[in-house]
């Protein structure tokens, strides 16, 4: 199958159709926002599939707080991607964080947990060959569960995200995070989600349709691409 024909509007919005660059998301920070009515996990699955295409040499470091490996393996098999093979070939590194539970009442331990997670990610990238470091995508599913695992220590989670942001400058890798916008929308000052929006260069937002529920269309996707490689900021919309 011709890869160009299989590219959709989301791929074009993210610049994945640009053949001149090996991985257009190199050095970029992507934030995927969704809500209860419209989940955006499919965006992560889609990016995994695109990143691990046979023609590329990309590597994914996947930090999972939401689901075990078997879940992603099952989903990606349906999309035509074998995560077990990719894991064995050192193209897909899976960090199972479901059992991570920092001790309650001690924020210092939360920081230690996040520091060691950062160390794991950094070590994984730094041992790769030099030419592959910029082809790494660090994916985190998802940030709200990371906050839960850190016992609500949002400041340390933001510190962790800052260090991950610094990895994109140091190695040229990309960072893709998923968070749920409606968790923070009811708070008086939704600063946490705003902090993440400021960090991100590409914002992918999944929302329900303005007209309400529909049988065939589950929602809409808005892509805000602030990456300087584009002539101007792009805003695209598609139904899912």
């Amino acid at each position: 199958m011709n890869d160009n024909q299989s590219l959709n509007l989301l791929d074009r919005a993210l610049g994945l159709d640009q053949q001149s660059r090996p991985w257009p998301l190199s050095g970029r920070v992507v934030l995927v926002e969704d809500c209860v009515e419209t989940t955006a996990s499919f965006v992560l699955h889609h990016l995994i599939k695109r990143s691990l295409s046979p023609n590329s040499s990309n590597v994914i470091v996947f930090v999972a707080f939401a689901n075990p490996f078997s879940h992603y393996d099952r989903v990606l098999r349906k999309l035509g991607c074998n995560l077990v093979t990719q894991r064995d070939n050192n193209r897909f590194f899976f960090f199972d964080m479901l059992m991570l539970q920092c001790p309650d009442g001690d924020e210092g331990k939360s920081e230690v947990g996040l520091v060691s997670l950062y160390e794991k990610i950094r070590k994984t990238i730094s041992v790769l060959p030099e030419d592959k470091k910029s082809h790494v995508t660090v994916m985190i599913d998802d940030i709200s569960l990371m906050e839960v695992a850190a016992n609500g220590a949002s400041d340390y989670v933001l510190d962790f995200l800052h260090y991950c942001h610094a990895l994109t400058s140091e190695f040229g890798c990309s960072l893709v995070t998923l968070n749920h916008e409606d968790i923070y929308s009811n708070t008086e000052t939704p600063t946490f989600i705003l902090q993440m929006e400021y960090l991100a260069e590409i914002l992918i937002k999944a929302e329900p349709l303005a007209t309400g529920l529909a049988a065939d269309v589950h929602g809409q996707l808005t892509v805000l691409n602030k990456a300087p490689s584009h002539c101007d900021w792009e805003l695209k919309e598609q139904g899912t």
């Binding site: 520091v115 950062y118 160390e119 950094r122 400041d155 933001l158 510190d159 800052h162 260090y163 610094a166 400058s169 140091e170 000052t189 600063t191 705003l194 902090q195 929006e197 400021y198 929302e207 329900p208 349709l209 303005a210 007209t211 809409q220 808005t222 805000l224 602030k226 300087p228 002539c231 101007d232 900021w233 792009e234 805003l235 919309e237």
Partner: protein, 370 residues
């Protein structure tokens, strides 16, 4: 207007005066703060290198972007980057000392000759002394000044109280070797009082606002999306200047984000709106209607007539022939009238111009760029 801001930073402060300080405020709806910051940084760097500024060097305190980013930014704009005039305090790479805990060694980079690491941004005293030390390193033994640029005060406020941060900024402003200082703040990350405190600390406030007001509750409307798209291509740039004489001046421009940077254009059709914004919102009217202006023009001021029923004459300093005759008549009537006249005072009122508006004390030389 953006040029006025850069010139003010360039000119620095007078002896014994606090350094001019620019606060750049943006929000998620109009997130051009880092672009404006980069623009001001570039302009000031040009002035420093050309020898046109009061400051001889620039210390960049980098929280949000890496030192390499600033080095590349200046190089792309054709500016020669070397340690003789610019130093970068790197609060981005390892702000909380995690790398020390993990025994990670930093690779040497080009930026390292210009940058120094800050390994604990929570210690504001250490941060202040690092900034001053870097600045003094630029000046050397000679008498001179340096400028300071802090790319994100919001990041400082994550780990320190507003009182500590404002203490640091205030100390920098009052340092006798600091020529000017500017910083960026994401206003929607903080309470209003925090933004207000930082505005009080600054002599210029540049606020970025969206071109189109964001509408809440209308998701997915195509028209709304195109308005949103416009908001991320351009915005309103409003600056408030506090002058030495205490007056506040507000100016507004439009800014456009392009690949090569940002451009500022004047706002042509909204001057009336700006003037209206200058007036505070109160429950009584501060302006005069046309009828009120006409009535006011008809009012005879107390010193413009003698109260003797004679026609109003505006004294312009030259005596008319008829007045001379009156005076001769008075003199000729003798001493008795003179004695009567000595008991009465006389007030001579000179009106400069009928066109002069009250309270108009604008200094016409304010805009001079010498």
């Amino acid at each position: 207007m953006a040029e006025t801001i850069c010139r003010t930073l360039r000119d620095g402060g007078l002896e014994g005066e606090h350094a001019p300080a620019l606060a750049i405020k943006d929000s998620v709806a109009s997130p051009f703060g880092l672009d404006v910051f980069s623009h001001v940084l570039t302009q000031l760097s040009n002035y420093i290198l050309a020898g046109k500024s009061q400051s001889r060097g620039l210390v960049v305190v980098a929280f949000r972007r890496s030192p390499s980013f600033y080095v590349n930014l200046l190089k792309e704009r054709g500016i020669d980057v070397n340690h003789k005039w610019v130093r970068i305090l790197d609060c981005y790479t390892n702000p909380f000392g995690w790398k020390e805990r993990l025994n990670v060694k930093e690779h040497s980079q080009e930026a390292s000759t210009l940058s120094s690491f800050c390994k604990d941004v929570r210690d504001l005293d250490k941060l202040y002394s690092s900034i001053v030390e870097l600045g003094k390193g630029l000046i050397g033994q000679e008498k001179g000044r340096f400028s300071v640029a802090i790319d994100l005060v919001s990041e400082m406020l994550r780990h320190a109280s507003i009182s500590s941060v404002s203490n640091l900024l205030s100390s920098l402003r009052s340092h006798d070797q600091v020529s000017s200082i500017f910083w960026l703040l994401h206003s929607d990350l903080h309470e209003v009082r925090v933004s207000t405190v930082l505005e009080y600390l600054s002599s210029m406030v540049a606020s970025l606002e969206p071109i189109n007001a964001p509408t809440i509750g209308q998701k997915g409307d195509l028209e709304n999306l195109s308005l949103l798209e416009q908001n991320f291509r351009k915005g309103k740039f409003q600056a408030r200047f506090k002058r030495r004489n205490g007056r506040v001046r507000v100016m507004c421009e439009e800014l456009h984000v392009e690949l090569s940077g940002i451009n500022f254009t004047s706002v042509s059709s909204e001057d009336g709106i700006i003037n209206q914004r200058l007036l505070p919102k109160v429950q009584f009217s501060l302006q005069l209607s046309e009828k009120e202006q006409t009535e006011r023009a008809k009012v005879v001021l107390p010193f413009e007539h003698q109260g003797n029923g004679k026609p109003i004459q505006i004294y312009d300093g030259r005596r008319s022939i008829s007045e001379n005759k009156n005076e001769e008549t008075l003199v000729s009537t003798g001493k008795l009238q003179t004695d009567e006249d000595t008991g009465k005072g006389e007030i001579i009122y000179f009106r400069d111009s009928d066109d002069e508006m009250p309270d108009s004390d604008e200094d016409p030389d304010d805009d001079l760029d010498i």
